[in-house]
Symmetry: C2
Subunit: 415 residues, 2 copies
């Protein structure tokens, strides 16, 4: 029941944290599971895509010189000696005055360097019986009514991906189309940063587990379900076995886990009932405790052996805010993702002032009403519903006394 | 090997599509799985949260009038008769001149209407033996050095959520903090819109399944892995049994599925080898075929019984673009999500011009270089790597001839 002797600035707290954050070791995942994962290797293609020249238009593959001088007044006959379809190439050589019907994407036959589009061909002339028998009934006579230049409507081998090209650097957050390109070069698994395992330790003797009906002087755990969803949003794997009693041994036991990150909710302040900070300081390192921000001032974090341990306030708004400032940042970074907030921001005008003392960062929940930013008047950090009524939040930095009505502020939108 | 007689505008194609889009039927999900799902019911609380008055500060619960007139010059003695902890309330009545040590979040004892913060109390005076015995060794004497007014540092029953309040309308996309609030009111499952089941039908006789090494005149399927990731991004459940041959029966069979949406990739144009449009027109409804856009012009869609069927071009850039314009929109809407693109946009200046003929919408891939928008010069819709080199895309509407260098354009950022 005493205050913090001195609160650390948010910047210094984050500086300590950032110094701990290296992406975890890589693990292989099948391509099918790799969306939104982060590459722990760079990927260089050892093939050309496509692996052959191909038509980029439906028409007739031929030697461009077979069409030289063709116009609608100078119609040049062509003997069509076969078809090239995707996956079913025409395998003979195509000579002068000959052509092969070709579909978009199909391989260019030998002897061909251009595709004459179907609309530049008059195909109404009769089939030549002689040639039809020679090419197994596929031969026919058509007429070119325009010329093409060499290379026209041909996609070159390697035009999409050239062998030896580095397609993705390590650290790449894989998009859907990246998976397409990786598949096209024959990749079936990739090395990505392992997702951090995150143990949730939700303490509070007054808490009932999620799914209970609140009764008597008990309240139902709100932080557990919220933190689980936040951790998963940020790419972590949640380990949340059960609520933990506010007792020395129960909390200490729960800190020793094979998780990479432990998040303790509740009992993070400096009262005699706040066990977690003392336990962490005794058995590991309590690097930060007490932060110059509101809410979330009674937040701490440090290490216990290989684990990062976060001590978040039990008040749910404080818990959310401290998670977003510190734990979420760490979970994203351990998985190779950007440390930045996963929220987008907009600039909008304040409808009413936001005040905040110098020396403390404030996290003000706001609503957007007709495009204007309305701070939500709330009692305190225990009112979680204020964050569900809010569209987002505005940060007042420690060196600011707040913002006057009409000022343009950055609103981070909850997602 | 002929063109479309007439291409539909993107607007008209979307108008047909939107008329088909109702969220699917609801399904119950446990709260733990409900993040990013969309409520198919509105949620009204039938409890107060908290269900009792509680302290919002560590200190001493008492009747405010017991501190009336207290200052550091007028120290008023208080008899501390017990403790109230979260989940462990003090169950006796607190009379005039008495106080109960109380922790943040703990229930207010009977007879108390305020909390005197710990720092306004001098607790160095000795315990009174008489009172200690009466209250089982817990009684002690402290001194108030300041007064509090009634209600001070007390969170009222229902201050977070009042019984009868509608917390979430149906259609709400559930955020992490929403799960916290739902848990706090005793909800353990919610009705959300069912996720659409999406069958992927990837056709192309030249295709090898993802995970193969490209060889000969075959290429490895890029669209399947890309579409699977896109569908999952948009909340769909992917059903992708295997590649499908470009054959009448194989394609027809694959359309009859219990999925809500079928996406066919490849063979969507008007050539004789393009089987899917004819099959859909014969067995169902081909509502849209041929769209005035580039790429993706040979896109079609319609219905087969209860299913929405999308015929997307096999060229991977066209496939991506057509998915984003049409299929993704439908999958999101069926799951109750916003039809809008899941991409954020920024406004930036064009470094080089983008040209586009009137009457056709263009989807131009761009990179951001030092904040300026660089169109990516690419051969065509077969160059999927152009979408991995791109940071996003710019849309040139059908009624525009494009944008001059230096114009400000909206860039949709790939995510």
């Amino acid at each position: 029941m005493r205050g913090f002797a001195r609160r650390q600035s948010v910047e210094r707290a984050i500086a300590w944290l950032d110094a701990q954050l290296q992406p975890l070791d890589p693990e292989p995942v099948p391509l099918r599971m790799a969306a939104r994962r982060v590459l722990a290797e760079s990927i260089t293609s050892n093939v050309d895509v496509p692996g052959f020249d191909r038509a980029t238009m439906d028409g007739y593959a031929l030697a461009a010189e077979s069409t030289e001088g063709a116009t609608s007044y100078n119609r040049l006959p062509l003997t069509v000696i076969g078809d090239s379809l995707p996956g079913r190439p025409f395998t003979h050589h195509v000579g002068a005055g000959q052509a092969v019907r070709i579909m978009t994407g199909a391989p260019m036959p030998q002897g061909c360097d251009a595709v004459l589009p179907a609309e530049w061909v008059d195909s109404t002339e009769a089939t030549s019986t002689l040639e039809a028998s020679r090419y197994r009934a596929r031969a026919s006579r058509v007429v070119a009514v325009a010329a093409v230049s060499p290379g026209k409507h041909v996609g070159r081998r390697g035009e999409d991906v050239t062998q030896g090209t580095t397609l993705f650097p390590h650290g790449r957050l894989l998009r859907p189309q990246d998976l397409g390109v990786l598949s096209s070069i024959g990749v079936d698994q990739v090395q990505v940063y392992r997702r951090p395992r995150v143990r949730l330790v939700v303490t509070g003797n007054e808490l009932l587990p999620a799914g209970s009906r609140p009764h008597g002087h008990c309240i139902v755990d709100a932080n557990g379900p919220m933190l689980a969803a936040l951790v998963e949003r940020d790419g972590g794997l949640v380990d949340f076995p059960s609520l933990v009693l506010d007792e020395h041994n129960a909390i200490l036991d729960s800190l020793y886990t094979d998780a990479d990150v432990v998040i303790v909710s509740g009992g993070s302040s400096v009262g005699v009932e706040d066990l977690a900070p003392t336990l962490l300081a005794t058995h590991g390192e309590l690097a930060v405790h007490g932060i110059a921000m509101r809410p979330s001032s009674p937040t701490g974090f440090g290490r216990l052996e290989h684990r990062l341990v976060f001590l978040l306030p039990g008040n749910p708004v404080s818990c959310l805010c401290a998670y977003d400032f510190f734990s979420g940042r760490a979970i994203r970074a351990l998985g190779g993702l950007s440390k930045a907030w996963p929220y987008h921001s907009i600039i909008a005008k304040l409808a009413r002032k936001i005040s905040s003392p110098i020396g403390r960062l404030d996290y003000a929940r706001v609503r957007l009403v007709d495009g204007a930013v309305e701070p939500i008047a709330v009692g305190g950090a225990s009112i979680l519903s204020s964050t569900t009524r809010a569209d987002g939040f505005v940060i007042v930095p420690a060196d600011s006394e707040g913002f006057a009505p009409g000022s343009e502020v950055e609103v981070w939108l909850y997602a």
